[in-house]
Amino acid sequence: MSKSDENLIGEGTLTGEGLLVGEGYLIEGRNIHHAFGKTSVLSNIDISVSPGEIVTLIGPNGAGKTTLVRVLLGLIRSDTGEIIKRPGLVVGYLPQQLSIDPVLPMTVRRLLRLTNRPTTTEMLEALSETGAAHLIDQAVQELSGGELQRVLLARALARRPDLLVLDEPIQGIDISGQTKLYELIAQIRSRRGCGVLMISHDLHIVMASTDRVVCINGHLCCSGHPETVREHPEYMALFAPREAESLAVYTHSHDHSHDLAGHVVPIEERGNSDHDHGHPEHDHSGHDHADHDSPERDITPRGETS
């Protein structure tokens, strides 16, 4: 990728979809269906990542995000559909929650040489890129969650990947660290021009450093620029009420919550809201829903409910 692309990305003027059209996808999954036993986990999913593009996969727990990534990586075979990889594609993978058993002695240096053989210079280069060069001779088990993620990211980078695949990279990291890690991933993309596919369950934090969001919940709900997805009724239906609900649980005395843009969203009582937007695939009963048709509506004051 050229320097001019970096600048464009740095200014945030370029969405992933506009980028490098014609170069072809790094990886593409078409019409993916997968079921565990009789339970359908993924149905009719299309997804692609282009060079230099950050694609974030979001969806609620059990939406099939990890399954989709595993299908794309070839770790499991989907029931139908095809995966097209660019020939010779090198993938750097950060699995969800990689922890190394204390009984296995392992330094950062050794971990970086686990599946390939970078030189010390190459290792230091990759570690500096993720801000972890000082950790090179540390035991892996002594690292904090954030440090371990940086080391694992460096390990993936030392493979000189065309595509980085990150499964919930921010787990076990505090909020400020999460933002920093996403910024780092965006920087790496700009510097190296590699494609990035990552899983997140929080669009809010990942938004600034992603080009395209793909929201799935068993099926493809919506995809596009993060701002667009945030306003999409299916996204709202999946995320806004859940966030409202969890905030209500933890604060008790509040009768409203905030949507992703910080607007106040009142919490409806269970079963009060009634919506249907033409998706028979999923069941809306039994959830609390903030009214997603009017995300910016005014505060509706109510008495203390707890």
């Binding site: 699995p95 296995l104 002695p105 392992m106 599946t115």
Partner: protein, 268 residues
């Protein structure tokens, strides 16, 4: 002190066993496969019985029985109805018991059962040594070839697979390797004790190692020291050799842990 020939043979053979059981034992510790090792070892007695029954070399019979059981377990790993430790328990004790029952049918034979169960280092012959060094060298080369892949699979199976390692091949070949080493080492340390020579030196080495390779080398060294100490003790106090080696290994583990604790507290 002038050693008799049989003592030299015991020391040389024991050192050979230690060199291969150290690195292999590390993987058994890392992959939590102690019970698997035990089960394979138990099936060795069935191999002894089969060896007598078909009139083939006992060591060959043992090798066939151990490797077959390991491959059988590798195939059964995929099923989910029973947990793998239940299956191991069923197979281990069934194999041991079938072996014992079969041997009891062969009345004309005088089988040194205790020798097989607890090992008899001091009765090692030149051909046993050849068997150990030939098999041991093969096992070391084998382990060397799969070392990097096996380590990657041990750290994270999916990561290894995503980066192009054929996990199944590595796993099965490791299980077969354990069976192979157990079969060649059984004569020394016995069916009931062989797993301890794999595990205790490796566990003792953990505290003093920073990398997997260091731990493997130290485990081999500790295994060698255990064999030396055990044989010396056995000569000195006329104790059974196999258990003496295990006691020596356990002693080393305890001393190592205490040293580790002292060093650790000094560093803080």
């Amino acid at each position: 002190m002038i050693f008799e020939d049989f003592i030299w043979r015991a020391l040389i053979g024991g050192a050979g066993v230690a060199v291969i059981s150290g690195p292999l034992g590390c993987f058994i510790v890392w992959r939590r496969m102690a019970y698997f090792g035990d089960s394979v070892a138990h099936s060795a007695l069935l191999g002894v019985a089969l060896g007598f029954f078909f009139g083939i070399d006992i060591r060959l019979g043992t090798l066939i029985a151990c490797v077959s059981l390991a491959l059988f377990l590798a195939l059964f790993q995929g099923q989910k109805r029973l947990s793998s430790d239940t299956i191991l328990g069923i197979l281990a004790h069934t194999a041991l018991s079938v072996g014992l029952v079969t041997i009891s049918f062969m009345e004309s034979l005088r089988v040194d059962l205790i020798g097989y169960l607890l090992g008899d280092i001091l009765s090692v012959t030149i051909s046993d040594i050849a068997w150990i060094y030939g098999g041991g060298a093969l096992a070391l080369v084998w382990l060397g070839l799969i070392w990097r892949q096996l380590l990657a699979v041990t750290v994270h199976e999916e990561l290894a697979r995503a980066e192009g390692i054929s996990v199944w091949v590595v796993r099965v070949s490791f299980m077969a390797l354990i069976a192979f080493v157990i079969a060649i080492a059984m004569k020394f340390i016995g069916i009931l004790l062989i797993t301890s020579l794999l595990i205790i030196p490796a566990a003792a080495a953990r505290r003093f190692s920073k990398t997997p390779e260091q731990m493997a080398a130290l485990a081999a060294l500790f295994g060698g020291l255990s064999v030396l100490g055990g044989i010396m003790a056995s000569l000195q106090w006329d104790t059974p050799s196999g258990p003496s080696v295990v006691v020596a290994a356990a002693g080393l583990f305890v001393v190592g842990s205490l040293v580790g604790v002292v060093l650790g507290s000094r560093n803080e």
